[in-house]
Amino acid sequence: VSRQDRGRPRPDAWSSLHERARVRLAERLDEPLDWLEAEWLAEHLDDCADCRAVAAEYAAQREALRGLRPPEPPRDLWARTAAALDAEAARHPSRVALPADRASRRGRGWTPFGAIGVVVATFVVAFLVGSQLVGPASVPQIAIASPRASGAPSGAALPIATPIPVTRGPVAWCSQENGSCEIHQAEIESVCAPGSTSNCAPLDSHAKSIAKLSVNPKSIVSSPDHRQVIVVGTKPGTSSTTIYVVPVSGGAASPTPTAPPASATPIAPSSPPSSIPSSAPSSPGGSAPPPSASAIATSTPTATALALLAIASDVVVVGQSAAYSPDGAWFAFSARPVSRLNGPDIYTWHSGDPAAVPLTTDHRSVFAGWVGQRIVGSRADLPSGQDAASPEPGASGAAGRGPTNSPATSDAPASSPVPASATAAATASPAGPVAASSFLIDPATRARTELIVPAWRPIVDPLGRWAVYWQGTIAADASGERWVMGTGQLMLGSWAALAGAQTAAGPQPLVLSPEFSAIDGADWDARWDDTGEHLAVWIGEREEPSIGHLTIVTIDTATGQPDPAARRLVGRPALVGFSLADGHLAWATPPGQDGQGSQLQVYAWSGPDAGQTSSQPATGSDTVIVVH
């Protein structure tokens, strides 16, 4: 009794001294007892063998607990979490907002664990050390870029739950600076451990410079063999676009090119094609003499790097769907003359030719993609009673001209008699939404087949099985310069059914994803990877057409069904123009994203594993252009 009285008065009513001793023994494992209780316990233990045994059991229990091996997370934990986060972000794009004071605090550069107390940092170290004991014995097949130490003193190695064996392949991009552009190329030899993208060595560290251009590129397209790129760019100080062919093969990629400007003299754009599709009636008023070669040459920027071949000048390239044919022999794009007299036509350039030539002359067709050696084109279908002139982007509403047989490039401002009213009408809001249809055309023979299903820009997978396309109306945007989506949906369906090669058989086309349905007023782009299993879909913003969001959709190649559970990347902010290869997607972030300049982002995967890496951010408002 006397011992019990020595304890600090507590409301506890002990059923026995032994119970009190047991509780105190447990408590003292977590924090020291007060001295009176500690003294009482010591005395009790002296007299109580059972309680000493309990003390020993508690000590052993703690040892055993601490000796347990931590279960290791599955390798795909990051991939699935990232997909869930992406889905969450897509569901609630503005879900997370911070009070102003927090935002500003973060704006000053807060990084987790960067400026935190020693206590938490110590735990991180303890944990990391612990996890290394059991962790990475069975990990990666490829190099994981070692994260650079940032906040945590541990910096050495973060626990790696997801090894990332990626398919190797090059990515190329250009960082714009003061009206020039240096194209870099890097092999994706390593990707960052998931979640460590902000700490990881940039792609630039092992990139090589493959070309340097004194143009402001809008888009850059690589040939299938990576031996040349086609650059769509504007001359410094002008808005006129020129399309150059730039060799970049292996050793030609000198970072300090010395080719004299003379070698870069471009060749005049196309002369009128010798054969005109018979369906295109000739219009006398539309035929204008092509500008002289010298005029083009003088207005062409000096190429500092390599011998450039300008295959088209003074055009406005429409959209980002320019592409080489699978064999690399042809290059196709959509363009219209800078004079804006006409809507867009599909142009082709055959490797070795001096210039690109128009493939269509209806001034309302755009290039959608390749299917083997044939081109899929799409055309705005005008309401009956209207001709091609008025309701299309860039078309002259007042002139009322029919299709001409002259190449668009011949409508240079200086040589085209443009009524003032026509110029004014070119920027006026055109007629309302119109229907669209598509066709297949052979660039060599110009043989043409209409698709039976109305569709806008069907983009067909490399195996020719499935196509993604817009089903609905299209309309000219406010500027009158490009087509945007009206009402409709992005569909995924059998290419054979679309082309009419197959009728009722096969699965019905389905809406690609509900999230892509509300894109009226916006533009979109899509690319398949080589396997036809992955489709990257970019949806532009209405107000800022160069910025959009990028999503990877995984397709069951047998059924053509998108697999919503296998989504890898959802709604990442991306500039227009991206590249999707077997196992990696590369895009450029808009300037200002995460407070960073524009940078190349690469998301690479293999099976369920995925990782990411990026280039150094560009400075200021300069943007990165992905070579696709």
């Binding site: 977590d30 508690y58 931590p70 009070p99 987790p112 303890a126 739950a161």
Partner: protein
């Protein structure tokens, strides 16, 4: 203490969407969640795996934890408490799972596999957890187990533990003390059962030889 009080305030008490005209980018929040993931996913997963004892389910719950962290990111006032905050979310996710199971099965959860036949992963995990300690851990009440794991294996301090468990400091201590005693008794019971089993096996093989 403010941070702890805040954590005790609870994530669920937050309005469903504290969205204002602020346009702090969800991408920024995502980047911060990525950093938190890279630092803590292994321990969060380990905690959940020990709580639910099913690797696949634990991975789902770990994923849920980070998605919930993303949603409730603005409840994290002090980045120094990010780790405890994550554990708090993980703890709630685990308890929600237990509640769900109890509702679905009308049976107290005993830590056994949900399915009729245990999965290969479950067996693998079972093998890893086959020691007395693991079996004993599974026998003690969930909240006690949680307290013990967080304190002993995840090194949460008193205040962090209280925050993660959503209780007061005093209550967290009491829970921990009870957990140690429960575990001690469960461990003793496990060892007694082992000894009995060995004796039974020895007796059986002895009879077999006769």
């Amino acid at each position: 203490m403010d941070a702890v009080a805040h954590l005790e305030h609870g994530l669920t008490a937050l309005p469903p969407a504290r969205v204002s005209a602020m346009t702090y980018s969800s991408v920024d929040v995502r980047a911060e969640i990525e950093v938190l993931f890279s630092r803590h996913h292994a321990e969060i997963y380990a905690y959940l795996a020990r709580m639910v004892r099913e690797p696949e389910l634990a991975a789902d719950l770990a994923q849920d934890t980070f998605v919930k962290a993303y949603r409730a990111f603005d409840s994290l006032e002090d980045p120094a408490h990010a780790r405890a905050w994550l554990y708090q979310i993980a703890h709630r996710v685990a308890l929600d799972e237990f509640r769900r199971r109890k509702i679905i099965r009308f049976l107290p959860w005993t830590g056994e596999s949900r399915g009729a036949a245990p999965s290969a992963e479950h067996l693998a995990l079972e093998g890893r957890f086959s020691g007395d300690m693991e079996r004993a851990l599974r026998k003690i009440p969930e909240r006690q187990r949680s307290a013990l794991l967080l304190a002993e294996l995840h090194d949460l301090t008193g205040l962090e533990l209280a925050a993660a468990l959503d209780v007061s400091h005093v209550a967290a201590r009491a829970l921990l003390t009870r957990a140690r005693e429960s575990l001690r008794q469960a461990l003793a019971a496990e060892r007694a059962a082992d000894a009995n089993a060995e004796r039974a096996a020895g007796a059986a093989s002895g009879r077999g030889r006769l």
